[in-house]
Symmetry: C2
Subunit: 130 residues, 2 copies
Amino acid sequence: MHRSRIGVFLIDHPEESYDGAAGFWAAATGSERSRSATPPGDDPYESLAPLAGGELLELQRTGGGTPPRIHLDLETDDVAAEVARVVGLGASVVEERDGYTILADPGGMVFCVVPVQSGDHFARHARTWR
Amino acid sequence: MHRSRIGVFLIDHPEESYDGAAGFWAAATGSERSRSATPPGDDPYESLAPLAGGELLELQRTGGGTPPRIHLDLETDDVAAEVARVVGLGASVVEERDGYTILADPGGMVFCVVPVQSGDHFARHARTWR
């Protein structure tokens, strides 16, 4: 038995458009950026204010020349079990990373399975899979 | 004075991969599809269960050959005022449709400004802009 839910939405922009897009989305959502516009070195993430149900809204600086996109993360208390569940539903594993897994849905759209990100919100809102 | 918030996340897939992806996301989120897998004629949308804060999670059947993606909608009680606000922040208008507007953020990522979709959740959670 394990639990999961959609826990994170990430707005991904390549380095050349990242700062403009990050500033835009912070202002558009009325949120403080969690860091300055200074390039973050090896941490490509920053957080905007979470959604009403605690789902995280994040910005990710991706590699030069990559297309901007939104991707989502399924957060779970058992990454291996959740990966097995969604692979059984038709997803395919793209890459296993340290602590999380990158997958693609049956139409090729990338998403991730990650550990719990939203704390008490996860406990209140996640689905249980048996 | 008007209000807005991120109100809808849409998983867009072209017709050739739509049904497989729609079935996958319904099962992955433990949600009922709001229609059968039959092509919907002129209505390209169906709904999955909303997020915990009432934000809608929808599936859209897009044109053949288009890439799968997620896009978001800002929901608002004044579409014209919200479009003007986000254009002032650096967005550009892609196309004005009947009742809503398609825009791109400063990095070229598409999003929409749409009328209120989430009812009481909008009233509780939207930001006010003066």
